[in-house]
Each structure stands twice: as structure tokens, then as C-alpha cells.
Amino acid sequence: MNIYVLMKRTFDTEEKIVLSGGKINEDGAEFIINPYDEYAIEEAIQVRDAHGGEVTVISVGNEEAEKQLRTALAMGADKAVLINTEDDIENSDQYTTAKVIAEYLKEKEVDLILGGNVAIDGGTGQVGPRVAELLNIPYVTTITKLDIDGTKVTVTRDVEGDSEIIETSLPLLVTAQQGLNEPRYPSLPGIMKAKKKPLEELELDDLDLEEDDVEAKTKTIEIFLPPKKEAGKVLSGELTDQVKELVYLLHTEAKVV
């Protein structure tokens, strides 16, 4: 089975966001594999181990993403592809990224594509479904369970707390929701092996794309931080009085109940 995983390098969830010159300051920040993409990588490895085949992890970005791709290889993926758009694309959005990925995948024999249901930085969740649409294959988002039997696939989809049991077939794209699995940590032998696994680097030229073909359709005109929340009022006195005061304040001052 040919399995592809779409992976994004993101800020660590414990990082604070600092702006400099109107942009997000990345200096000294820790980067990780987008947590939802980790579930996708884990699931891909489990599917390969059960059904045979090969797992290729793809990332669109700059050469810094090599580190996260190596981590994916250390977890157990077989190959990695970095589509480095840094020199070619100035203004990109989800339209851009999806088009680049679809262009790469359309020449491949694809059975299963996995990704996270959302990236914790941009937070749009667009790229997976867009890629499926461009490749004209079905997709199911926010899945918590995946069973494959031949080309028949049964998935469980999380829909705001409810679960849908969905039947579909390969080729298929799915996006991972929390609860799909427990991603493994790379083992030491895994890390050693990952160094020798193939990591291919491509640019737009290699995909026969021009910058104009993937020009963003949207543009960020400003980034700002939310107003800093002032620490509020910690109540004091007898607990029963505090509770009464809190209810009073919520009712009359904050007017939320």
C-alpha cells in the first residue's frame, strides 16, 4: 500500500507568541511536528505494519522542516519529501500549499493519504480536503478510528462529540483527530536508522510549477496580539461569603448570568 502523510512543522504548544516588526518572532522558539500530524504519522505506520507497503511523509516549507521529517523517519516512516518553497514563493496560503502537494501526488499511485485535521499555528484545516478535491478522491476529516479491509475502509469520525461510522474505499484521504492513537516516541535504533533513510528535496521547478500557478488568493495584512488580560479579583473571606459574592458579581457586574 502506498501511504502518504502530510506533515507541518509548527511552534511548540508551550511557546509564547512574540511579535517583532509586525511578524511572529521565531528566534529561539522550539518547533515540533504539528501534534495532529503526529497521529497521522503513527496511524500510517500502523497501517503499513498491518497491510504492508511504504510510508512517505511530505512537508511543504523550508529546509528547517528537515528536522521534523527526520523525526517522522525515526518514528518509522520509510521516506520523506521536503518541497522547499522558500526561494520561490513569497506569499502563500492554503490554496498554494494544497496545489503544490496535489501536483506532487498526482503522478504517484496513492492508496491512502493522512494528515492532521488542523495545524495548531494557522488553524484552518483546509489543506487535507483541498488536496483530496484536487486529486478527486474521497476524504473523511477528524477521524478517531481507521479499519482497512482490502479496498474497503471503515472509519469513525468525530463530529462535535458524536461519532459517525462511515464506510468508504481506497484511495482515500483522512485527517486525524485526537484519540486516533498514541503516537510513539522515536527509539534510539529508530533515530540511527532515520539518518540513512531517503529524504528527497524538491522545488517548484521539479513539479513543473511556476510561482504564478500557486499565487496565494488571500493575504495577511496585520498580525496582533490579544489585549493582555489583567489579573482579576481573587475573593477573600469565608468560603460561603465568597461564593455568594461571586454569584452576585457575575450577575450584576459581569452580567453573564
Partner: protein
């Protein structure tokens, strides 16, 4: 510049979701005086058309088919693309719900258009339609415009005020017949986990528990408080990882990002990853034994104390308030 803007109304269990009315309000801004056309997709939804009009739509297009009884991306995209083809809109607004998140990128892919997801505000400024949206789960915000093609956005529930309902508004409700075929995903069964209670993303009040609840049973007093307030129960990653509750309840940078009117954090320390998911709530109450807990830094009101003592007392106090008001 006036525009024709489509709004997809979302029906759940026979009623329109609030976010649909909020989407109409956003669409009015985008339309700049142009026509707002509501769209309803389902198997028996035409009776709800007039409701969209009372909330500000000028007219409504209905696509009904028994194959559209449940949402599938294949079925709904065929229906919505047919309406888009007929109406040729210059804008599309959809709620950023499970349905909207799943459907909108596919439509954008098909139209080769941009898509601004999860907007929390929209305005017209400097000749542009400018959307504000959270990034890094609300640790920062960006203002975004569409530079090429249709203005397409999804709006986060609970953020854009709906227009006031006007019972006197009238408009055309017309059907469009679409041949829905070749559904590649079939829903065999729906297991309702959230059958009781209010949906987290739309809840006006959320009572949330962290490691401090100590067990699955520890969520009971929180549920009782939420019930009195007509709210939903959420959790921190700590509580989910400790298996006190289901991951579907998780609020944070991984998990759901929520902006209720009132967020009551019980036994939650306030890790950065949790704060990202809730710190834009309108009013935050923290209940924690540890006076140094980080959560007090973002809370509007705090009580230092044992949640198992404080929460039941709060429930009683709110009950009294409800009786008196």
C-alpha cells in the same frame, strides 16, 4: 461595491443553528448593500427558509433530496456547487462548525478560490473586506483579505452578533433540483456521545475541569453546575490524559478553542496550551486550591479553595438566583 453573498444555513435536529444567523450578519457586511441569499440543504428543510429571511437573508434557495438527510461532503458539495453555479455569488459565508470545516475547503478547492477560515470579526476598511481570525489558537490574531476571486469565509460560532429577528421580513423561498449521485462515503451509524448537554463550541457557559477533579466521578459536580447554568462541561489536557474524561471535551491548543460568555475553570492550573483555548472567553472564573496557579493570572474572578467544596455551593447559589430572577 455591492456583492451578492451566499450563506449556508446549518440545520441540526430540525432547527437552524445560531451560527447560521451570525453568518447572515457577516454576509450583510460583506455584501455592502448587495443581496444576501440563504441556502438550505437537507431532506426536509424548506420550512426553515422564512427563518433565514427574518434574520436578514433577502431570499433563500433550498436543495432537498433524501440523500442529503445526513451531511456528506460529496452530497453537500454537489448541492452547494449547483447553487453557486446558478447564483454566481461574489461572496460565500459558512459557519465554522464540523460541517463548515469539512465542506468549505472542498468548495474552495473546486472553485480554485481562497478561503478565510474561522473568522471572529469582519469589517469593511480601506476598500477591503477585512476578516479577523485567531492564529496559534488565539495566542495571536491576524487580519486577512481576499486578493483574488470570490470572498469566501467561515465564521466562528458565538463571535459575530446576529441581526435582530424581524418577523415582518418577507422574501422568496425557491427550490433548486439537483441530481445527487455517487456518494463515496456512506454514514452507517451515528453514535451520540453528546446527546445530553450543550455543544462546547456554541455554549454560552462552560464549566471546565482539570487534574484537580481527580477522577471521572469528579466531573459530576461540574456537570450539575453546568446544568443549572444551561452550559457545557469541558476539560483540560491534563484531565483527558489522565482519562477522567473523553478527548472530545478537551479545550486548548490541541482540542477545542472556545469563547463563551462565562468560563469556570475548576482545578485547572492554567498551562499555556490550555490558556490558548479559553483565554478569549468574555468572563473567566478560576477555582483552584493553589493561590499561585497560573489560571488566576487570566481570571476575572478567583476563589482559592477546594473545587469539591466550592462548586456544589456555587450550584446552590445559582439555583437560588434562578428562582429569584
Amino acid at each position: 461595491m455591492s456583492r451578492k453573498v451566499l450563506v449556508l444555513g446549518e440545520v441540526r435536529e430540525g432547527s437552524l443553528r445560531n451560527v447560521s444567523f451570525e453568518a447572515i450578519s457577516a454576509a450583510k457586511t460583506v455584501a455592502e448593500g448587495g443581496e444576501v441569499v440563504g441556502v438550505l440543504i437537507g431532506d426536509a428543510v424548506s420550512a426553515l427558509g422564512s427563518e433565514l429571511i427574518k434574520y436578514g437573508a433577502d431570499r433563500v434557495v433550498i436543495v432537498e433530496d433524501e440523500k442529503l438527510k445526513q451531511y456528506t461532503s460529496d452530497g453537500y458539495s454537489q448541492a452547494l456547487l449547483a447553487v453557486i453555479d446558478q447564483e454566481k455569488p461574489e461572496g460565500i459565508i459558512i459557519g465554522h462548525t464540523a460541517l463548515g470545516k469539512d465542506l468549505s475547503p472542498r468548495i474552495a478547492g473546486k472553485l480554485s478560490s481562497g478561503l478565510i477560515s474561522d473568522a471572529t470579526a469582519v469589517e469593511v476598511a480601506g476598500g477591503n473586506v477585512v476578516f479577523t481570525r485567531p492564529i496559534y489558537s488565539g495566542k495571536a490574531f491576524e487580519k486577512k483579505i481576499v486578493t483574488d476571486g470570490i470572498i469566501f469565509a467561515t465564521v466562528r460560532p458565538n463571535n459575530i452578533a446576529p441581526l435582530e429577528k424581524d418577523e415582518s421580513r418577507n422574501g422568496e423561498v425557491a427550490s433548486l433540483s439537483v441530481d445527487i449521485k455517487d456518494l463515496r462515503t456512506i454514514i452507517k451509524e451515528v453514535v451520540r456521545k453528546a446527546a445530553e448537554g450543550v455543544d462546547l463550541s456554541e455554549a454560552k457557559v462552560i464549566v471546565s475541569g482539570g487534574r484537580g477533579v481527580k477522577s471521572a466521578d469528579g466531573f459530576k459536580p461540574l456537570k450539575e453546575l453546568a446544568d443549572v447554568l444551561g452550559g457545557a462541561v469541558g476539560a483540560s489536557r491534563g484531565a483527558c490524559d489522565a482519562e477522567y474524561c473523553d478527548y472530545s471535551m478537551q479545550i486548548g491548543q490541541t482540542g477545542k478553542v472556545v469563547t463563551p460568555d462565562l468560563y469556570i475553570a475548576c482545578g485547572i492550573s492554567g498551562a499555556i496550551q490550555h490558556l490558548a483555548g479559553m483565554s478569549n472567553s468574555k468572563v473567566i472564573v478560576a477555582i483552584n486550591k493553589d493561590p499561585e496557579a497560573n489560571i488566576f493570572k487570566v481570571a476575572d474572578y478567583g476563589i482559592v479553595g477546594d473545587l469539591f467544596e466550592v462548586v456544589p455551593m456555587l450550584t446552590e447559589e445559582f439555583k437560588k438566583l434562578k428562582v429569584h430572577s
